[in-house]
């Protein structure tokens, strides 16, 4: 007989359960502890909890290009100019590190100079890279150094080519560095950026380029402290704790800036923590510009020092399920509605599901500054010379149906190349070659292919469509597109490609129809979209994948590209738009868009998609968040009771069984 002490077993079981309860009593809050609980004045330390689906690729201002990197970098490294958080139709640039928008001076030789003045008294954050660890004042030489870095082949700035075309001396500096084994001589001045005094510099352009203002609002041109680049070299140094050797991080992972936040902690694959830059005073909350319905929310912040929150914690979520769970529990302050979570949050009428709406959550739609389309090869002997055939293909494509099936009906159908909010976008414009099957069939007759058949051979016209087939959905989209064109009686063969092969074909012009092409705007100017169809911008160096060439379009592009926004420029942009939709070098599809679920305690202060550094305007209603978290996270005790009962049952059963054994 096994000497079973039931009382002791019960006590042990209960002890275990109580232990679990105690640990559970620590709470289900998944967020790491904040840096502080209260501010020096005793008010709550405000932490914003956010998520990121991907890792940033670089936090070097002259290198970072992807959205995730910008999201972290721009709050840390302030730009010379920045986008107004509320003025998005059209977008407006306002001073940040500069005291005013640079003035343009047209020179006699056709070149252009911009006089730029830095605001006085702006300091870098305290960092060991500075003498005594104390951040020094920002000076014009830091801007010059940043522009030198753009020309440094070793830095590998992705927009060097764009800027070098306009800024004096950049190409020469780059070429000299290339000849010198990729070593840039930083003692050599860049003639295009003339430092006048400690806070003033001139930017010399070879020719008029109004879009330079937008480049000054991008982090590529943000000033950099040379000390930081030299200090954070990724090499071992004997300055670790106790004089031990330690590898300093690379500058690409340790940005040192003048922005509203400091990169306090970065644990790759896990979290990124930004903390308030206590010395930040470059900008304040705008006094105007918001939508009337946000007046009561935003008026109290007008003129207040930034940032409004003290800490921002980004957690890396590579799956959507945890994002949904944590948002439901109130532990995430914002949630982008992904494909998997769409049906549980959004109703078929594109409203927030009642169970979330009743919690005070709301749904906001964001349209990205991007346009996606199918590219048609204008040098293809079938498609290139046959305008009516291209128009027919465009008319045959039911883009809205594709969006409804594959994208839950969220993105708007692109009626024009320019994305909404950009100068020249015409809200009421309808693509004359949008979906219209009857018109498409008529155009096929005019194209010389009645019923989709080639009269010479009597057989259906055959076209190939290259797709980047990386998964099941891409294949389904390709088959959907194939069916659209086959309604005209033509045969479309799908060619599936890997990502690299697809890019290779686009570069070589080795396709007839290339699916899934498009462009995300770098800055809100029509030039940034129309350059995709400029005749001198063919691949591989350029991005005119369709190899579209229209002398009138090119002439207008060259004229429009150097003009300031004006009624004359608007007229030219509209003409170019009309030429493009008429010529159909692409089949327009959509402007990418997504929904965001907004928590009741974390209203979206701004939703400017160009302003990745807009975290300084974010705000959290801390007491409401605490209250909601308590309401949304009750801890039931009955499951523990059931667990204890089951364990006890098993013990009693074994005791009884043991008594029956005759050994």
């Amino acid at each position: 007989m096994i000497p079973v002490d039931v009382t002791a077993a019960f006590q042990r079981g209960l002890g275990m359960v109580l232990g679990l309860v105690l640990i559970a009593g620590c709470g289900n809050d998944p967020n790491p502890r904040p840096l502080r609980k209260t501010r020096p004045d005793g008010s709550p330390w405000l932490v914003m909890y956010s998520g990121m689906p991907e890792e940033p690729r670089s936090l070097d201002p002259q290198v970072a290009y992807d959205q995730m990197s910008r999201r972290i970098l721009e709050p840390v490294v302030e730009t010379l100019l920045e986008y107004h958080p509320f003025k998005t139709a059209p977008y407006e640039v306002v001073p940040a590190l500069l005291s005013e928008i640079p003035r343009r001076e047209l020179q006699a030789d056709g070149s252009v100079t911009y006089l730029c003045k830095l605001k006085p008294g702006i300091s870098y954050v305290d960092d060991p890279c500075f003498p005594g660890g104390k951040g020094r004042e920002l000076v014009a030489a830091d801007v010059h150094y940043a522009f030198q870095r753009i020309c440094d082949p070793k830095v590998g700035c992705p927009v060097f080519g764009n800027l070098a075309e306009y800024i004096r001396g950049m190409s020469q500096l780059y070429e000299r560095a290339k000849k010198n084994g990729d070593q840039l001589d930083y003692s050599e001045k860049l003639s295009g950026l003339e430092v006048i005094d400690s806070h003033t510099f001139k930017l010399h352009l070879l020719k008029p380029y109004p879009q330079i203002i937008y480049w000054l609002a991008l982090h590529f041109t943000a000033p950099v402290a040379r000390e930081a680049v030299e200090y954070y070299d990724g090499k071992p140094h004997t300055d670790g704790p106790g004089g031990r050797e330690r590898i300093r991080p690379k500058f690409a992972w340790h940005p040192v800036g003048t922005g509203p936040f400091v990169l306090h902690e970065y644990r790759p694959g896990h979290l990124i923590r930004l903390a308030r830059n206590e010395r930040y005073q470059t900008t304040v909350f705008p006094e105007e510009g918001w939508a009337p319905e946000k007046e009561s929310l935003l008026r109290p912040f007008a003129g207040r020092n930034l940032p409004l929150v003290d800490e921002v914690l980004f957690t890396m979520f590579r799956e959507e399920l945890p994002v949904v769970l944590l948002s439901r529990q109130g532990y995430l302050d914002e949630m982008r509605v992904g494909k998997d979570a769409f049906n549980s949050f959004v109703t078929p009428s594109l409203k927030l599901d009642q169970k979330y709406a009743s919690r005070g959550m709301s749904l906001e739609k964001n349209v990205e500054l991007s346009t996606f389309y199918m590219s048609l090869d204008m040098q293809d002997p079938v498609l290139g010379p046959n305008l009516k055939l291209r128009q027919a293909l465009s008319c045959a494509h039911d883009t809205q149906a594709g969006i409804d099936i594959f994208r839950n009906g969220v993105p708007p159908v692109a009626q024009q190349l320019i994305a909404p909010g950009i100068f020249g976008f015409q809200p009421g414009f309808r693509n004359p070659y949008g979906f219209n099957l009857e018109k498409a069939r008529q155009l096929m007759v005019e194209a010389g292919y009645p019923g989709g058949r080639d009269p010479k051979t009597g057989r259906p016209l055959e076209l190939t469509m290259d797709v980047n087939a990386t998964g099941a959905q891409e294949r389904q989209v390709a088959e959907f597109n194939q069916r659209q064109f086959q309604q005209l009686g033509i045969q479309v063969k799908i060619v599936e490609n890997t990502f690299a092969r697809m890019l290779e074909k686009e570069d070589q012009g080795n396709f007839q129809i290339a699916s899934g092409t498009g462009w995300g705007a770098d800055y809100p100017d029509p030039e940034n979209f129309f350059f995709l169809f400029y005749g001198k911008n063919f691949p591989p160096e350029g991005k005119n994948i369709s190899r579209y060439r229209n002398p009138e379009f090119d002439r207008l592009f060259e004229q429009m590209a150097t003009m300031e926004n004006s009624p004359e420029r608007l007229e030219i942009v509209q003409k170019m738009n009309a030429i493009l939709v008429e010529d159909c070098p692409v089949i327009l599809e959509m402007n990418k868009a997504f929904y965001v679920v907004v928590q009741p305690f974390s209203p979206r202060v701004q939703n400017n998609t160009l302003l990745e550094g807009g975290l300084k305007y974010a705000w959290i209603d801390h007491p409401l968040r605490e209250q909601k978290r308590r309401e949304w996270n009750p801890v039931p005790l009955w499951p523990l009771g059931v667990g204890v009962a089951l364990m006890m049952g098993a013990v009693f059963y074994s005791v009884r069984w043991n008594r029956r054994l005759d050994v």
């Binding site: 289900n28 690729r57 690299a500 074994s654």
Partner: protein, 324 residues
């Protein structure tokens, strides 16, 4: 024993070479270096910038043998890569540029914090339940236990994770549904749920196996002799049957021990544990081949270590086995 060890270590070399060759070849099948460059450089990538990216990483060299004039024959991508791994120069991440030794050092502790307790806890639970079933063998509880074990085996791992997150973390709010914070005892709240789920995931199969092993033991002559001598049920199970049954279990247990360092791909990813499993998943997604290669290489070494350790343990616990 010493000769045997040397022989086993020598056998490991061609296996490691094979692993590296296969992973190297597969990496090109999955994604070409040009494609990786394009992904990293973004939409403005030009042929020049792609070429520069490849050159910086030595990916513009021939794949296996450098037949260019005046170039060393082995100055190729594969042999350069091989040379670095053999000397444990793991290099830096393709994406973040971080020292991979540091990456692995940082990731090992979070991984071990979930895999080790899950392994030991799961093992203890499986042995206990198997012994319980053996104790109540041929009863209703035994049959129910077997059905439950088969059911546990049949459930995919993802279902456990979704159940854990949606029911235990979300509906009952006992533990965080996601996250990790290495901060003393409060770390426990982050690891308890993943540990429990991992332990339960492997429980069904283990209980079935251990029950079979213990049942085989309990039918041995020495057990009957012990029973005849009046040994108690408890002593019979926990001393005689368990001890002798453990010899068969050693192979299963020891081989897994070194691999615990590598963490769990699925659980770490879904619970946001910044361990080595998560690192590997992230590296695969980002096309960070340097990290993937290093992970596969370390995984292969640890696996081989596990096999060698198993052989040694066999010899230590079973006097009938001699390694010669």
């Amino acid at each position: 024993m010493f000769n045997y060890l040397i022989r086993r270590l020598l056998y490991a070399i061609p296996i490691l070479l094979g692993v590296m060759l296969i992973s190297f070849v597969l990496s090109f099948v999955v994604q070409s270096p040009e494609s990786r460059a394009r992904m990293q450089l973004g939409q403005r990538a030009t042929p020049k910038s792609v070429a520069a990216w490849l050159h910086q990483r030595g990916l513009d060299k021939p794949r296996f043998l450098n037949t260019a004039k005046d170039a060393p024959l082995l100055d190729s991508q594969f042999f350069n890569h091989l040379g670095k791994l053999v000397t444990f120069e793991l290099g830096v991440s393709d994406v973040s540029g971080r020292d991979l030794k540091e990456v692995f050092r940082e990731g090992a502790l979070p991984s071990l914090l979930i895999t080790l307790p899950a392994f030991l806890g799961g093992l203890a639970l499986a042995i206990s339940l198997a012994l319980y079933q053996v104790f109540v063998r041929h009863s209703l509880a035994d049959s129910l236990g077997s059905i439950l074990a088969v059911a546990l085996m049949s459930v995919p791992a993802m279902v456990y994770i979704i159940f854990g997150q949606a029911v235990i973390a979300l509906a009952f709010n006992y533990f965080p549904a996601f996250g990790f914070d290495l901060s003393g005892w409060s770390t426990a709240k982050f690891i308890l749920l993943p540990v429990a789920l991992m332990a339960v995931m492997g429980l069904g199969g283990d209980v079935r196996l251990f029950r079979a092993i213990f049942l085989e033991e309990i039918a041995q002559d020495y057990v009957r002799t012990a029973q005849a001598k009046g040994v108690s049920n408890a002593r019979l199970l926990f001393v005689h049957v368990l001890k002798n049954g453990m010899i068969a279990l050693i192979t299963l247990i020891v081989a897994q021990l070194p691999l615990l360092v590598m963490g769990s791909l699925l659980v770490e990813n879904f619970f946001g544990i910044p361990g080595l499993g998560n690192t590997l998943v992230l590296a695969i997604r980002q096309g960070d081949h340097a990290t993937v290669f290093a992970s596969v290489y370390l995984g292969a070494i640890l696996y081989l270590m596990g096999l060698i350790l198993t052989d040694i343990c066999y010899a230590l616990v079973d006097p009938r086995i001699r390694l010669s």
